[in-house]
């Protein structure tokens, strides 16, 4: 069903399995029975060196250091970040910030970490600490957020919503807005592997829909951007027009992403407990190719295979399906097949982006291209932007940085049809892979006649 890329685009690295918190809903599969720690392991500096070099060789674009709590293994974390930057891999961090010092925040900024994600479960210590099962956690995380803000980070805060805190979502969002948080994400608590009973935490289907509405409406009321981090089935979301900001999170496990555990094992997703190899002894590509079942459609529920929304929806979360409905190819418990037609009608009404006509342009400065069998993957800075076919890849790679090009000159390069070229340039500009330029430029800047590679 999905293409097999040459390697993942983004890799999560669980650098440390231990964590100061023992969250009731923790998705670390090694924490059985409501948070008790079943094993501790961590990646050493040597391990990190091996992993980062293998990822760089495979041209992975981004790594996310996570855990457990990655800041409990600071030496390996900082070494990993430094190495990633040297190797041209972007870095972000998922952390509860409890071990973060003011000095660490400065260091993370200096090392070029581009984004940091943390979690808050409620509007006050009683609720938050009651869920993460550690007194003082709320204060510690808030202090960490302030340290980050002081050095110029704008951390994203995720609210994991379960039966325990579903009544406090609005208050929590308002509280986070008062802290100066610019973007809030939220996820429904998801059942981890090895969990025997998640029934006291899982949202019911009705809860799930109420949760989406409250998240949406509170974001509107408070005037803050809110979104989700998990893939929810489109038929379960149903009101696609209303909840546009919650769309586009199709499951990427084994399709574009993997997770490396604190012992080097490689899994398609942080929630999933199935391992396909170990990066300390194998290379990433051979492990990646073993994950074919994540891409070939065998994990797609039979009921979803005929759905017209499948290719954009992906069928929801496979881990949730496995743990709550019995198998990896069962339906996501938040699916609602009876609402497919309604969701499809809504999908067809989603506003289309208006493409602008481009007559002069230059290539964006931070374009990163990885060649693939079908063409290439394009990132701009830390963000995925597009898959391109071979002809388009040749075209993009032929553009020199910092040069302004004119459509009429570019037309001569490859005997492109005018409409084809204009349409393609508009799409590239829409993705900010190329930037529109004014027609009048200084003489020295103009160099649109040479099809040189960079």
């Amino acid at each position: 069903m999905y293409k097999t890329l040459s390697a993942p685009l983004v890799v999560q690295i669980e650098i440390e399995s231990a964590c100061p918190n023992t969250c009731m809903h923790c998705y670390n599969f090694w924490r059985k029975n409501n948070g008790s720690k079943s094993y501790n392991s961590h990646l050493s500096l040597k391990d990190i060196g091996i992993i980062m070099h293998k990822l760089a060789e495979a041209k992975v674009f981004e790594v996310v250091f996570t855990g457990g709590e990655p800041l409990l293994n600071k030496s390996a974390l900082f070494y990993g970040i430094e190495l990633a930057q040297k190797l041209g891999i972007g870095v972000s961090l998922n952390s509860n910030l409890i071990p973060l010092t003011e000095k660490d925040a400065v260091f993370l900024k200096r090392l070029g970490v581009h984004s940091i994600l943390t979690s808050i479960m409620g509007p006050n210590a009683a609720i938050h600490d009651g869920i993460v099962l550690r007194n003082g956690s709320f204060e510690d995380t808030i202090r960490g957020i302030k340290y980050l803000q002081k050095v110029g980070f704008s951390p994203t805060v995720n609210i994991v919503v379960s039966q325990k805190n579903k009544g406090y979502l609005k208050k929590t969002i308002k509280f986070l807005a008062s802290l100066g948080i610019n973007y809030i994400s939220s996820t429904r608590a998801g059942c981890p592997g090895n969990c025997s009973d998640f029934s006291t935490l899982s949202l019911s289907f009705e809860d799930f829909r109420r949760y989406l509405e409250e998240l949406y409406i509170t974001g509107q009321e408070v005037g803050i951007s809110v979104g989700v981090l998990e893939s929810y089935p489109y038929c379960g979301i149903k009101e696609l027009l209303r909840y546009q900001q919650f769309l586009g999170r199709r499951c990427s496990a084994g399709v574009t992403t993997v997770t490396i555990g604190s012992n080097g094992s490689v899994r398609p997703c942080s929630h999933l407990d199935i391992q396909y190899g170990n990066l300390l002894s194998e290379d990433i590509k051979s492990i990646w190719f073993k994950m074919d079942e994540c891409r070939n459609g065998s994990m797609i529920p039979p009921e979803c295979r005929k759905c017209p929304l499948l290719e954009i929806c992906g069928g929801g979360c496979r881990m949730e399906a496995k743990m709550r409905c019995g198998s990896l190819n069962a339906m996501d418990p938040y699916s609602s097949p009876k609402d497919i037609n309604f969701a499809l009608q809504q999908f067809n009404k989603l506003p289309k982006r208006e493409l602008k006509i481009v007559s002069a342009f230059s290539v964006a400065e931070k374009v990163r291209i990885r060649l693939e069998k079908f063409g290439s993957v394009v990132f701009v800075a830390h963000r995925f932007k597009a898959y391109l076919n071979r002809k388009s890849t040749d075209f993009l790679m032929g553009l020199k940085p910092k040069k302004t090009y004119f459509v009429e000159e570019v037309m001569k390069w490859g005997n492109y049809e005018e409409e084809e070229l204009k349409r393609f340039l508009s799409k590239l500009a829409d993705k900010k892979i190329i930037l529109q330029r004014p027609r009048k430029i200084t003489g020295g800047e103009r160099d649109g006649t040479t099809n040189s590679r960079f």
């Binding site: 399709v255 999908f347 800075a381 391109l388």
Partner: protein, 53 residues
């Protein structure tokens, strides 16, 4: 062999797709959601804070 035109690909393998929706292609939709399938994206890095696809 069919002449290739300048265009985007999707992550879907069109030759092996179980069910190929025509909605995006028919509408020439560039908002194909391939742009946001990154699990860890937090939407607020400084390079893209005005570019939430």
């Amino acid at each position: 062999m069919e002449r290739q035109i300048l265009d985007f690909e999707t992550i879907l393998d069109k030759t092996n797709a179980i069910k190929q929706s025509s909605s995006c292609e028919e509408n020439d939709c560039v908002n194909c959601y391939d742009c946001v399938d990154c699990y860890d994206c937090d939407f607020n890095c400084e390079e893209c804070d005005t570019d939430r696809d």
